[in-house]
């Protein structure tokens, strides 16, 4: 599928989206006030597509992932819908929705140490979901787990099923959580910062592994990261988040080549480059990320934005659709090709 035809479909309000998030909003009450973690996010994922969600800490990436998989912070108030193959998961009874998600969506979290129960052998952790969701017998589930662990690169998986998470290195733990996410043969894999806790060399291994698995299993994948470099080479489309909004999205190549939102642009410039020159001054973005409890009605980036108009402080721009399958939320975008 070429980029162009993808873009066309998108514009026509594609019916073939595997997963659609519509107007996701989420507010988390805290002692200091409500955190508006999501301000109204729309997203689409097609079968076999890899979508990168990028943004700085606190921009709402994990909340978005939580919104999709139905695991928001306790007490969070949310509206919007998650439509999986035409079915709104959020309108299903919670028990049913959870089972559907367990079956169809797998998720890998940032910190593999945290995501694994330290006192349960990994064999059980990998197999249990298959037993509950697919109704496999213990032996079947075990066989499946062994196969999966081998696939993600754990040597000698039969023996290691009995081991506990702390007996594995960080990279191996992350491989195990990937195996856990895949055990029910989901259609969608969500990876929330899957390599942030890992070293560069291991990060490379894991990213390669995810890419391979997505290809082999024709998985649709949402890859969440704060690191544009990680997203850059490994996604088909990208959504840039800031302050609880997707400020810009579109085919990865397009967005990198021609960022329209001032934030995306500044972000790209602020990244130090390994091939850059010595003592090159980085282009910092002044100010600091927004406090989501104090968010007004305007654009959250406005206080730091070089292009800000008076309007920006008060009115959140609506989603616009420049051509090429892109979306943009900006009153005063960077001119195309600038």
């Amino acid at each position: 599928m070429t980029l162009d035809s993808q873009a066309d479909l998108r514009e026509s309000g594609s019916a073939d989206a595997l997963l659609r998030v519509e107007d996701a909003r989420c507010a988390i009450p805290t002692g200091r006030g409500d955190v508006k973690a999501l301000g109204g996010v729309d997203l689409e994922l097609r079968a076999g597509e890899v979508l990168g969600v990028v943004g700085e800490s606190g921009s709402g990436k994990s909340t978005l992932a939580g919104f999709i998989i139905g695991a928001l912070a306790p007490g969070a108030q949310s509206t919007g819908s998650v439509i999986l193959e035409g079915q709104d998961l959020r309108s299903l009874p919670s028990e049913t929705a959870r089972r559907v998600r367990g079956r169809r969506i797998g998720i890998v979290f940032q910190d593999p140490m945290m995501a694994l129960n330290p006192v349960v052998p990994i064999g059980r952790q990998v197999t249990e979901a298959a037993m509950f969701n697919l109704g496999l017998s213990r032996a079947e589930a075990k066989a499946k787990a062994v196969g999966l662990l081998r696939q993600v690169g754990i040597p000698d998986p039969e023996r290691r099923l009995r081991h506990y998470p702390h007996q594995f290195s960080g990279g191996m733990r992350q491989r195990i959580t990937i195996a856990m996410a895949l055990v029910c043969d989901p259609d969608i894999l969500i990876a929330d910062e899957p390599t942030t806790a890992l070293d560069v060399t291991v990060q490379r291994q894991i990213l390669d592994l995810l890419a391979r698995l997505a290809r082999e299993r024709s998985l649709a994948m949402i890859m969440v990261s704060h690191d544009l470099s990680v997203i850059a080479g490994r996604t088909d489309t990208i959504a840039v988040m800031y302050g609880g909004y997707v400020v810009e999205s579109g085919p990865t190549v397009e967005v990198f080549r021609n960022p329209r939102h001032p934030y995306t642009r500044a972000l790209l410039r602020a990244i130090p480059r390994i091939d850059g020159s010595r003592h090159a001054r980085l282009e910092a973005i002044p100010g600091s990320p927004p406090d989501l409890t104090l968010l007004g009605t305007g654009c959250p980036f406005a206080p730091r934005c070089p292009n800000a108009l008076p309007l920006c402080a008060d009115v959140m721009p609506a989603v616009s659709h420049p051509h090429g399958g892109r979306t943009l939320r900006c009153h005063n975008p960077v001119p195309e090709g600038a």
Binding site: G170, H226, A232, T235, V253, F256, I274, S288
Partner: protein
């Protein structure tokens, strides 16, 4: 004579079930005004090396000579000439104390008069971009990560050190803020003529800030040299793998080389000979028996590999 001369630094830790040699025989030197980066994967001994310079804790073996004076555990006053910025800025600031007190602490201990302390502290706060009147009486917990890092920098710089050890100062910061802090450190270094030991696992940041780079693997320095030479022509397969693993912020960039296989071996029982051999694509039998020493490569840096000339290929 270099400002700082570190030779054969070794540090062991007792851990349940044995001991870890976190740093084994590390040597390097640092000139005035120079920035040396220490890179390597998690657990390779970067922080331990950095902390050893401050005696927190001091090394088990090896010597550290600062400006001709050997730093022993007792030379406390000289130690103030080495200051440190920690990875997690917030954790390095006592959450119950006010910003002004935090920054003034070292001067007070050193017995600087009250009035002078005050002026120096305020000046330094301003230098790092904080308004002393606005932030001076607040507590560290109320600040963002970037601001905390500024406070930590002020606390270190107010002591007018000769050497600043920065232990992953930007690793915990957001990209947009990271650039601010890196720039601030650059400015500081230039205006105070500091020598800096910059510890990082982020090769991109290292490239932009340092003059020379030392690559560590499992407690040893495997390669050390000028930043450009090392990045362009790595003399050690590990350096090479590290560089290849860094993703480029460009969808069009081709991924380079093959990924390393395997994980970091346990530091409690490092492999014999060359410690990298278990993951090295070039490993031969000799690597298991003979520990390679640092040798000058064609590009001019020092690398500890039996086959450094094959790395570039």
């Amino acid at each position: 004579m270099p400002l700082l001369e570190v030779s054969d630094l070794t540090k062991r830790f007792k851990v349940p079930g044995g001991s870890v040699e976190a740093v084994s025989g590390v040597s390097f030197s640092l000139e005035r005004g120079e920035t040396l980066a220490l890179v390597g994967e998690s657990g390779c001994g970067k922080s331990t090396t950095g902390r050893a310079l401050l005696g927190a804790p001091g090394p088990d073996e090896g010597t550290i000579v600062l400006d001709g004076v050997t730093l022993s555990d007792r030379a406390a006053s000289r130690r103030r000439d080495v200051q440190m910025i920690f990875q997690d800025a917030r954790a390095s600031l006592n959450p119950r104390r006010r910003v002004r007190d935090l920054v003034a602490e070292g001067l007070r201990i050193a017995g600087v008069p009250r009035a002078e302390t005050r002026t120096r502290v305020d000046a330094m706060l301003r230098a790092v971009g904080l308004d002393p009147d606005r932030v001076g009486d607040r507590r560290a917990a109320e600040f963002s990560g970037g601001q905390c890092q500024r406070i930590a920098i002020a606390r270190a710089m107010v002591m007018e050190p000769q050497v600043l050890v920065c232990d992953e100062p930007v690793a915990s910061l957001d990209v947009s803020v990271q650039a601010q802090v890196v720039n601030l450190l650059q400015d500081m270094k230039e205006s105070y003529g500091l020598a800096m030991l910059f510890i990082s696992h982020d090769l991109s940041v290292v490239r932009s800030i340092s003059d020379r780079v030392a690559v560590m693997y499992l407690g040893r320095v495997v390669e050390i040299g000028g930043v450009d030479e090392l990045y362009e022509n790595p003399g050690h397969p590990y350096t090479r793998a590290l560089l290849d693993s860094v993703p480029a912020p460009d969808p069009a960039a081709p991924s380079r080389g093959a990924a390393l296989t395997g994980d970091l071996p346990s530091p409690m029982s490092p492999p014999s000979g060359c410690r990298f051999r278990t993951r090295c694509p070039l490993a031969q039998d000799v690597c298991a028996t003979e520990t390679p020493t640092l040798r000058r490569t064609a590009a001019g840096q020092l690398a500890a590999c039996h086959f450094s000339e094959l790395v570039a290929a």
